[in-house]
Symmetry: C2
Subunit: 113 residues, 2 copies
DNA sequence: TCCTTAGTTCAAAATCTATTGAACCTTTGA
DNA sequence: TCAAAGGTTCAATAGATTTTGAACTAAGGA
């Protein structure tokens, strides 16, 4: 099973450090724009290579920002909205408000089909 | 004069990246605990060496998190509370709520007089 | 004027983070 | 059973960040 921190193991410095990155903020923006629907890793492919995304998902998961659940050959990514709200009230909302408006990193443009 | 970004130049990824660091979060915690009183650099000396703090203050200033004003031979550090609230409503408050409770980095303990 | 206080700057070293591609694993469907 | 889809892991590299100490600067007071 994939390791996820419990709510009280989520650390502010770690969450901030993990979200202080264009690619990971773009992942958050995509998740938020799609509502509460969990997305498979492949949905984010414009943001980087498979292995690079895998790295970013692990960072987000270890920090407690996303949940990753195996589902067949896929893995579904979802935001740990309730957990983050419980731990740091107001934080996620204020970040998402801006994250959904952020221009995506260069790569997405270059690789756009 | 010291360069400070204007309110609309403040960038979320940069603010988050800058605050995703124990030392800088501790600086924020100290500022918040002292109310709105500006503090001189030397007040933070338990958090690191002079040159190291100078580096962290520059990072915080460049990201738009603090304001640094010369005052005699000192420099007074203050939080850009209003500017951050205007740019990212709710963000600073939710971070401060936790930052003021955070255990200080190891160094402070070792160097405590 | 000279000294002290307070902080900056610089270059070097140490450390950490992100990115890549190749090889791999696991589940599912044919 | 085999192949494909969807991801992970690893080692290597590149790049960025943090830390250090020594040398420096600027303002204020004796």
């Amino acid at each position: 099973m994939l390791q996820h921190p419990t709510v009280d193991q989520i650390s502010l410095p770690q969450v901030l450090a993990v979200l202080g990155d264009q690619t990971r903020l773009a992942i958050l923006g995509d998740l938020a724009r799609r509502g509460d629907e969990p997305l498979a890793c492949a949905e984010f492919k414009l943001l980087g290579s498979k292995s690079n995304l895998s790295y970013h998902f692990a960072k987000l998961r270890e920090a407690g920002v996303i949940r990753v659940e195996p589902c067949g050959t896929k893995r579904l990514i979802s935001l740990r909205k309730d957990d983050l709200n419980a731990r740091f009230p107001g934080l996620l909302d204020s970040i998402l408000a801006t994250a959904v408006t952020l221009p995506p990193p260069e790569k997405r443009i270059e690789q756009a089909v």
